[in-house]
Amino acid sequence: MKFAVTVGDTTEMVEVSGEAGRYRLTIGSEVWEVDGRLTAQGIYSLLIGGASYVADVFDEDGACVVDVGAERYVIHVEEQTRYIIRTKGGAGGGQAARTLVAPLPGRIVKVAVKPGDKVEKGATLLVIEAMKMENEFKAGASGTIAEVRVEPGQAVNGGDVLIVIR
């Protein structure tokens, strides 16, 4: 299972596998073998390479707050695909924001623009149903719609180019 983990300004992808207290996590290029137990509500005991840590994990305003020793971290953990859906179209602007690519497989529910339309940055371009949710995709930059390569009802794969703005 993969997660997008955001601490401060930095988001990194973390892959986890394992069960019943024995886990393997890949953070960037590092692999961590972790013996992790929930000893009481929200209190984790972690053994990592022999070192013993106790982490208090709790929710605060929708974020995951983790206390380890005297330190506190506010961490957003999101399933990777959900993170991708949520941040769709939000990555960058300018020249880099002019092609809408499907971030994951799904079905086109609605196309809100047609070639020649002028759109402002943030305008809704189309809606994809994926992960049992309808996900609105917005323009990453202002411009004119040059191509619309999909239509409602059509299945798309991740990576497919859907709309091009000039």
Binding site: F58, V77, A97, R98, T99, M131
Partner: protein
């Protein structure tokens, strides 16, 4: 006489402290609580508890008539005022006496005599106890104050005559600041103590704050229990206290103690009290004031002398003679107290009320937790932020410091912010470890302190991810779609592509 039931006219950790002492003496305890304190620990621990009104202290914990009425209705025969609130209020002591209740503290006359700081300075002067150079009467009128200030020299302190607890105080570093500071000090004093009278004292440079615990019974015995060093302060409020002081040797201890006992005797003092001194860099000491009550930091004296001060207070109030003479008092080892407050130490000490969602207190060998909190408790926004006092004892000062560091590392409060992280940095500081203390210590080192960062980042990320992984696993909600060659490839940024 026998005291069978005590009303505790206070809240928080000190009310709990008194309730425990009562229980150990076979005395019933009566708690009082404001509307904000129904679920406070002292209410849960007392034998009885009664409401006394709204959260505002002057409608509850400062409402003399209500407290006396509840005490009588509950059948209490004595009242313990704790510290703060009405502890140094002579009118409260009188009201108790008038209602036939034993006030567990000094007689009203002693409270009055010592509550007026200039009168107390005059007592000390008459006894030949050194006082900080300054005026022995309140000063007023610009011309008179300017003249008095010239006689003392700068820098100096303007202090409230009826003051205490750091209120109504202003430092003046040059004549040009005097008039403005005088006005501020007078109006703050008038607001805080109902009396705008102020006096002047020379401002000592980075002095140490050293105080002497005394106990006196109704039979004329006065004994001192050695000193406490309380130099680690912020905004004139103590943060870390210890006993004995690392700079007080047996000779100075005897001299300070003797001076303290002389002042207590001259004032007709009875019960537990504290005589405060400033000690200069050259070892000279100066009488500052006498606090006519139990101090917050009394436990460090208890740990090194083995004398239970609240038990002695109850015994003295019941008319018993002191259980020991001066020669019986000895100091063993070293004790340190850290005040755990619900504040943000890295955010200007802003109060941090709210619910304590998780609490793990330090424990084990020679660790004492005098707390007013518990897991699930909501710290109200109306009162002092003191949550708990963490006290340790060690065979010597280095052992006590190491133990305090260990205990602070065990103490965990979740849900609100506390002073624990800054306390840990204080006891780790080389100047603290070397005993180089002064009242300016904390202001000087605080800018070098910061919340620890990024040392446990990977551990925190792992914990957060496992928590979410297990949460999803338990609910078995939507699975990520199985990867296929043409699906979105992870590791690349989604959305618009250049």
């Amino acid at each position: 006489m026998r005291i069978a039931k005590v009303l505790v006219a206070n809240r928080g950790e000190i009310a709990v402290r008194v309730i425990r002492a009562c229980r150990e003496q076979g005395i019933a305890s009566v708690a009082v609580f404001s509307e904000a304190d129904r679920e406070a620990l002292h209410v849960l621990m007392a034998d009885e508890a009664y409401p006394i009104g709204p959260p505002a202290p002057n409608e509850s914990y400062l409402a003399i008539d209500k407290l006396v009425r509840v005490a009588k209705a509950a059948g209490a025969d004595a009242v313990h005022p704790g510290y703060g609130f009405l502890a140094e209020n002579a009118a409260f002591a009188e009201a108790c006496a008038a209602a036939g209740l034993v006030f567990i503290g000094p007689p009203p006359e002693a409270i009055r005599a010592l509550g007026d700081k200039t009168a107390a300075r005059r007592i000390a002067r008459e006894l030949g106890v050194p006082t900080v150079p300054g005026t022995f009467e309140p000063v007023s009128g610009e011309a008179a104050v300017l003249a008095a200030a010239r006689g003392i020299g700068y820098p100096l302190m303007i202090k409230a005559s009826m003051g205490g607890g750091g209120k109504g105080m202003r430092a003046v570093h040059a004549e040009g600041e005097l008039v403005a500071a005088l006005g501020l000090a007078q109006s703050e004093a008038a607001w805080a103590f109902g009396d705008g009278a102020v006096y002047l004292e020379r401002l000592l440079v980075e002095p140490r704050h050293i105080e002497v615990q005394v106990v006196a019974d109704t039979h004329g015995h006065v004994v001192h229990l050695g000193e406490r060093e309380c130099s680690i302060q912020r905004r004139h409020q103590k943060v870390v206290e210890e006993a004995p002081s690392p700079v007080v040797d047996p000779t100075i201890r005897a001299r300070l103690g003797e001076a303290a006992c002389r002042i207590a005797k001259a004032a007709g003092y009875v019960n537990a009290g504290t005589v405060e001194f400033l000690v200069d860099a050259d070892g000279s000491f100066y009488f500052l004031e006498m606090n006519t009550r139990l101090q917050v930091e009394h436990p460090v004296t208890e740990m090194v002398t083995g004398i239970d001060l609240v038990r002695e207070q109850l015994r003295i109030a019941a008319g018993a003679t002191l259980g020991f003479a001066q020669a019986d008092v000895s100091v063993r080892g070293a004790a340190i107290e850290c005040r755990i407050n619900a504040e943000d130490p890295f955010g200007g000490w802003m109060p941090s009320p709210g619910k304590i969602t998780r609490l793990r207190a330090a424990t084990g060998p020679w660790v004492r937790d005098d707390s007013g909190a518990y897991e699930g408790y909501t710290v109200p926004r109306y009162y002092d932020t003191l949550l708990a006092k963490l006290i340790v004892w060690g065979a010597d000062r280095p052992a006590a410091i190491q133990r305090m560091a260990r205990a602070l590392s065990e103490y965990k409060v979740v849900g609100i912010l506390t002073t624990i992280p800054v306390l840990a940095q204080i006891v780790a500081h080389e100047d603290f470890r070397a005993g180089r203390l002064s009242t300016g210590f904390l202001d000087r080192v605080l800018p070098t302190f910061a919340a620890e960062r990024d040392r446990a980042r990977s551990v925190a990320v792992i914990a957060a991810v496992l928590a979410e992984y297990e949460r999803l696993g338990r609910r078995t909600i939507v699975e990520a779609p199985p990867p296929s060659p043409d699906s979105w490839r992870t590791g690349r940024h989604p959305g618009w592509r250049s």
